[in-house]
Structure formats: C-alpha cells, structure tokens
C-alpha cells in the first residue's frame, strides 16, 4: 500500500513542499530504505523511526518499506522527516487515514517522544501559504509554530498520542499562542549606569537614532563595551514585521529555545574575534545564517575590531552596504537578510594606553601604525561615526556631582529615538530604506537639505580637513540625524558643526 504524508524542507528562509511517500509492500525481503537524495541525518532517521515505533508499543511492519522524498532532486537535510516517515509507516499498521491538508514535521527520540526541532515557524508559515489547515509539530516547538495565525498547530508529545488522535480515539485541540513577556528585562545596562562619557553617549544616541554604524576608540576600561551593550536598551522595540523576520532567522539557525515565542527585542550579537568568515557571514554546504544575519534588525558588536582577521572584516563590506546576503553553494543559493547596525570598538594602540593621561603607552609609533593598518580601510569608510572614548577619572568624577544630573535613563532616550525613527520611516516611505544611516547619495540630495550656513561650514571643513567625497556625505548623513533629534527639517549650522566632531580623525595623524 502507498501512503502520502506532506512535509516541507527549508532552503534558507524559503520552504519547499516535500511529499513523503511510504510504500509498504508484501513482496520482497523485509527491509527499510529511504530514497530521494537523503542526507546523512535523513538516512539515520530509519533507526530512530524503527526504535520509536517499537518503543511506543506498536508493531513495526516486517515488510519491505520504501520511503521516497519527492521531489527527488533536492538534497534533504535535517532530522525533521522522522515524524512524517513514522506517520506513514504507522498508517500501514493501524490503518488510519492520513489527513490530507496537514503538514508533519519533527524529530523523534528513540522512546517515541518528539524533540524540539528547528525551523518550526517557517514550516507553519509555509502551511499557511499553501492553504494547509493543520500542522503537527513537536510539543516543545509548538508555541513557535503558533506564532503564525490561521493555522491549527497540534502539539505532539509522542507517537502514541498522535496515533490515538489519528485513529479518532483521543481528542487533541490546536494550541493557542502564548507570548512570553520577556522585554521587561531587555535593558542589560542602563545608559545612566555609564560613568561620564557624555560625548560618547551622545554619539551612541545619534547612531541609534539614525541606525548609523559607529566606531569607538578608547583605552581598556573606559566603557566602550558597556556603551555598546547599553544600545539594545535605547533602540526602539521591533515592530511586528521585523519581529517575524528575526524569529524566522533564529528558528532556521536553531537558536530558538523550546517553547520560544516571537522575538521582540533587538538582537545584540558580539562574536569573538577568532570567528571564521563562515561564522560571521554564514555558509556551509546547507547554508546557515551567520552572525550578520542573526544581528538582523539589531546590533553587531565587534569588540577589539583590530584583532579580527582582515579577511573576515573584508567580507563584511557587502553585507554592511546591502543589508542582504546571498550565499551560493554548489547545490543551492540562499538569501538571508542582514540589516544590522555595526558597532566596533578598538584600542588606540596595542598596549591600549596611547593618549591616556595617567599610564604611559609602551608602543613604538611603528607598532601603532601597524595596529591601525590592520583595520580594513573600506570597512572604516562605511562607519559613519568615529568617537573617542577617553578614560574616566573616577576621582574627578566624584567631585563633580553635576554630572549625575545629566545622565538620562535608557527608557527616556529610547522614547526619543522611537520618535525619530518613526519620522524617518515616514520620510523614506517608498524608498526601500528606513533610516538615515541607509541613505545613498540620491537620498541625501533629496532628503538632507542643508541650510546655507550649514553648507558653508561643511564646505569649509571639507577643505580644511581634506575630506573625501564619501566622508563629506557621511557628515551630511550624521547632520540629518542630529537635525531629526532636534526636530527640524532643514539641517542648521549647529547640526553640521556637531557632526564634525564625529568624523574620522585617524587619517589626520602624522
């Protein structure tokens, strides 16, 4: 007899329908084969299915079983075909009708229970698009699948339970999506906790408001990492569309926890500098999203920027520019979004104390030069704001109590930034960009209008500091965000002047 069970395979963020055809034949020697370009994990599925059915107090048919995964020309990877295969084999024994408009998906454990499986939200979305009304997923992944409205999600704990339901012996209700409220504690560091650094804080705020990339240079312990970690707390929360994008990426990468719900806080990724190119960009024979994609709609923080291998940094050029990344491999080509804010931090020199007022720097100018050269020029060029984060003199700080009155809590800054982001969303409607940081030259001409005085200042600075055309454009972009923060349409003199403080000064050193 032939049984057909519907399932799906993912290729990047897209899903493709896969029919699992199970033929149980009385002719031929007893055996179990899987055909249809099955990868290693799918091959092993045979043993899991056999043991799981046996351990669920059901009989495993001693006949010739052939499983075909159609279409047969796409490589099938992953452990989630366990469930559809088991459902097909059980049908031959228990003689139930496999529901037509349903999608099965999940990895089996040898005892017959179902395990948390990655990609649940993608499968649910696929079911909805294909008009399949029901999706059967492992219990731990059910909440994740239930994010998608309009599909009945059945949470399956084990094979016996599923068999009972399919035979009509027990009832099973589709589960209702539960949102775990977790964004209460999403503020890891509050901006108010960062001592001093008024100037760097302002720079961080501008970067957050316009989604500009930012580079912080400062000696160890000055608070660079803390400032970066405070960023998610001042960025506006993800809207619904963005949340789904991020959740899909995390689901595909297998980074969703069991019982996971929609991700509503902006991702903050800080890979260590020993990361490989594939780890950062994504890849593999079955291309997985890398850190840049996991930082989508959030922050990619590269601490000790100069320590990253040059080849790894160079590979960031295109993702930073385009916000999407296509990974091509022999068998498939997948596209992952990666619209992130790049936050880099670096020491001023190898020992870290160049320009420190207390500790002497022990590096020779040659070492400093070599160290600075390690950072990729083209990448530095794509970073809008360059800011010095000097050491904080604690003693001096205690004397001056005024400082505390100036530091604002993250929540207040976040509100302000949300307003500015909203303004940008309205401005760039129909332009396929959302923030000032993404502006190309054509957008700058159209949306970043300079007052006469501001133009005078930028032109003068361009000559005086020998700015390149790109640097000049970066200054206008920053000025645009500063003007937005001040809630004015035309960029005024003071906005341009302030923006000048955030230009890259690295090339002015002799």
């Amino acid at each position: 007899m032939l049984i057909k069970v519907q399932s799906a395979a993912n290729s990047g963020l897209e899903a493709i329908g896969v029919d699992v055809e199970v033929s149980v034949s009385n002719r031929g020697l007893p055996g179990f084969d899987i055909v249809g370009l099955a990868g290693k994990a799918v091959e092993e599925s045979k043993e899991r299915v056999r043991a799981a059915i046996g351990n669920s107090r059901m009989e495993f048919p001693q006949r010739k079983i052939t499983v075909n995964l159609a279409p047969a020309d796409i490589l099938k990877e992953g452990s989630f075909y366990d469930l559809p295969i088991a459902v097909g084999i059980m049908a031959s024994v228990l003689q139930y009708e496999v529901p037509k408009d349903s999608l099965f998906f999940g990895e089996l454990s040898l005892d017959g229970s179902l395990r948390h499986t990655k990609g649940a939200v993608l499968m649910a979305l696929f079911a909805k698009e294909q008009g399949l009304g029901n999706i059967f997923v492992p219990f731990p992944s059910a909440n994740e699948a239930a994010i998608i409205k309009g599909v009945n999600v059945y949470a399956i704990e084990n094979l016996s339970q599923l068999a009972g339901f399919l035979l009509g012996k027990t009832a099973l209700q589709p589960i209702v999506y539960e949102e775990h409220v977790e964004h209460v504690e999403d503020i890891e560091f509050d901006m108010a906790e960062v001592l001093g650094q008024e100037y760097a804080k302002r720079a961080i705020e501008i970067a957050a408001a316009g989604a500009h990339n930012i580079l912080m240079i400062g000696s160890p312990g000055s608070g660079k990492t803390m400032l970066a970690r405070a960023l998610p707390g001042i960025l506006p929360r993800l809207n619904e569309g963005e949340s789904l994008e991020v959740t899909k990426l995390y689901s595909v990468a297998g980074s969703m926890p069991p019982q996971g719900s929609l991700i509503t806080t902006r991702p903050f990724r800080s890979p260590h500098h020993t990361i490989s190119q594939i780890g950062l960009i994504g890849g593999g024979s079955k291309p997985q999203p890398g850190e840049v994609s996991l930082a989508h709609r959030g922050v990619l923080f590269l601490d000790e920027f100069n320590e990253f291998p040059r080849s790894v940094l160079e590979s960031l050029r295109q993702p930073v520019e385009d916000g999407v990344l296509t990974i091509s491999r022999a068998r498939e080509r997948v596209t992952y979004p990666c619209r992130f804010m790049l936050v880099a931090s670096s020491n001023p020199c190898p020992c870290g104390y160049l320009g420190h007022s207390k500790k002497p720097c022990i590096c020779s100018p040659r070492e400093v030069k070599k160290y600075r050269k390690r950072a990729s020029g083209p990448i530095l060029d794509r970073i809008d704001l360059h800011v010095d984060v000097p050491e904080v003199d604690i003693a001096k700080f205690a004397e001056n109590q005024k400082a505390s009155s100036l530091s604002e809590p993250s929540s207040a800054i976040r509100e302000r930034i949300a307003v500015v982001r909203q303004k940008q969303a309205v401005r760039f409607k129909g332009e396929h960009i959302f923030t000032n940081g993404e502006m190309k030259n054509s957008h700058i001409k159209k949306y970043a209008k300079l007052s006469r005085e501001a133009e005078l200042i930028l032109t003068r600075a361009g000559i005086q500091y020998q700015l390149s055309a790109r640097s000049y454009m970066k200054l206008i972009k920053i000025s645009r965000t500063i003007a937005d923060l001040a809630d004015v349409e035309y960029i005024e003199r003071n906005h341009a002047l302030e923006a000048l403080q955030y230009r890259s000064k690295a090339y002015e050193l002799d």
Binding site: G196, Q197, E198, Y199, A200, K201, R202, L354, G355, P360, C361, S364, P365, R366, K369, D388, P390, K396, N400, K402, A403, S405, L406, L456, I457, R460, A461, Q464, I482, R493, N494, H495, L497, E498, L500, Q501, K505, D510
Partner: protein
C-alpha cells in the same frame, strides 16, 4: 661615496673641537658648510607627551625660522617632531644616525628622511654601509649631535634618558644647555627638571634660545620666509560668526587647562551636542587644535 675626513677643510669646525671627534663622517645630501654655522641640538624622549609635542613644534618651529639649523637624532618622539617642525617652516635640519649611512632607522620614517634631503638638509653618520644600530652606537651618535652645536635644547626627558647623555656631552664640551620645564607630575619632566636644577638655562619662549645666538656678532637675522610652504597656523579665511558666549567661555577655560569634550560638558553643565558644535567652530576658525582627545588654544 660621500665622506668628509677630519683633516678636510669642510669638516665642521665645532665638531673638530671635541676630544673624540669622528675621524670620518659619511653623509647624504648636498654638503654646504653654511649649514653648520649656527646649530641647535634638539633632543628628548621617544615617549613624548602631547604637551611636549606641542611645545616642541611651537618653539623649534620659531627657532628654525630664525635661521638656526636644527640637529637631532632622527628617532621618533622629540627627534622626529623637531625635524618635522623645522621642515614645516622651511628651515634646515641635520639628522645624525646611530646606524650605517645606508640605513634608514627607524625605517618607517622614510618620508621624513627624504624630505630632509629634498630641502637641503643633511643625513650624517660615522658608521659606514648598512651597519645596524646597537646599544652603544646611540651614545656615540649623541656626542656628534652635541658636538655639532653651540647649544642643546632638551624638550622632555625621563630620569634615565638617552637625552641626558647628550646633555652631559654638551656640558663636557662647555656648550650652552637649555631645558624646557614640564609638569612635575610627568615622568618625562624629571630629567629636564634635574638639568634645570643643575644649572641649565630655562626656556619659556623661542626668544630665550634665539637671543643666545644673536649675541654672536656673526649671527644676523637670516630668516627669509621661504615661498610656498605656508605659515604654520591656518589662516582665517572667512568669518563663520563665532562669537557666542559659550565659545568665548570655552576658549577662556581651555587657556587655563587643556581638556577633552567630556570635561567641558561637566564644567559648563550643558549638553554634549552644544559643546561639540562650539568646539567645531573654534577648531575651524583655528583658535584651538586637538591632540589625542584634548583641546589646546593656539
């Protein structure tokens, strides 16, 4: 190969006077005895502070502009700054190398090396070929630096600094020794403080040094501003209306103490954005300049 022997007529007279004068000098550049007439050795630490850098640029620039040749050791820090400050005002400078004449040491200063030669300066060494610099060649070099000059100016020096070796040679050869005072809290002001205590002349402005040379009847004001190299400071081209009270106040504050942006924010209790804008305009107008995160009044 360009060499000068001690018995040659063109051998620098002042250098010949010292007891252990080198018998043979290798050189690069166009030898012009005129360059040795009035020389000042400028020495100091490799680990210069931003204060030292600023003072060195300012004083040496002015001294060199009055026609005095600046002699130094081509090392980074004070040496390189002195060479550069001289070149900027179109002055002449001599670099005495601690290594063979064919080597550039430190090699990453090749640009400076070439610029010295292009502007009529000299590169000198008593070592031939590609002889590597060694621990003992530095003090040997220092005696030539001191020996070539009527006076030595110590900019910044630590307690055990190679610059003090040059200073000691200067004293031994009975030449004039100048030192620039620095903050007592600074490691690299200890050496200069010691020299001042021992009787070196204090330098608070370029005039202190130039006057010493002026006392020589042969020394006339030889300074003719060379064309094309421009003034050291940026000139105001167009007034960008910088006369707000905050800018004035910041300028007053910076005259007393050089600080960074954060300190200004705290001192005036205003938003960082306002301070940033005020600082930018002051910089554009050329009133202040920045070095390693701190702002100085020009």
């Amino acid at each position: 190969m360009n060499t000068v022997m001690i018995q040659d007529k063109m051998y620098p007279g002042l250098l010949k006077e010292i007891p252990d004068a080198p018998k043979k000098l290798y050189y690069k550049g166009d030898w012009n005895s005129e360059i040795f007439a009035y020389c000042l050795a400028v020495v100091g630490t490799r680990r210069m502070t931003s204060y030292g850098k600023r003072i060195c640029e300012e004083l040496v620039g002015e001294i060199a502009a009055s026609g005095i040749t600046i002699v130094s050791g081509f090392m980074y820090g004070v040496d390189a700054t002195a060479h550069k400050a001289t070149l900027r005002v179109g002055g002449k400078t001599i670099a005495v190398m601690p290594c063979g004449i064919d080597l550039i040491h430190p090699e990453d200063q090749e640009d400076l090396y070439n610029e010295i030669l292009e502007t009529g300066g000299l590169i000198l060494s008593e070592f031939e070929g590609d002889f590597k610099p060694l621990l003992w060649t530095y003090p040997k070099r220092n005696r030539i630096v001191a020996g070539l000059c009527q006076a030595t100016l110590v900019v910044e020096a630590g307690e055990k600094s190679g610059s003090l070796i040059t200073a000691n040679f200067t004293k031994k050869y009975e030449r004039k020794l100048f030192a620039i005072p620095g903050p007592l809290t600074s490691e690299v002001a200890k050496g200069t403080a010691q020299l001042l205590k021992e009787g070196a002349s204090i330098v608070t402005c370029a005039k202190d040094v130039v006057d010493f040379y002026r006392s020589d009847p042969g020394f006339s004001l030889r300074f003719t501003p060379p064309a094309g190299r421009g003034p050291t400071r940026l000139q105001k081209t167009q007034d960008l209306h910088s006369n707000s009270t905050l800018e004035q106040k910041i300028l007053e504050y910076l005259k007393r103490e050089s600080v960074g942006l954060d300190s200004l924010v705290r001192a005036f209790n205003v938003q960082a954005s306002q301070i940033g804008a005020a600082i930018s305009i002051l910089q554009l107008e050329g009133f202040i300049s920045e070095d390693q995160g701190k702002f100085y009044v020009n």
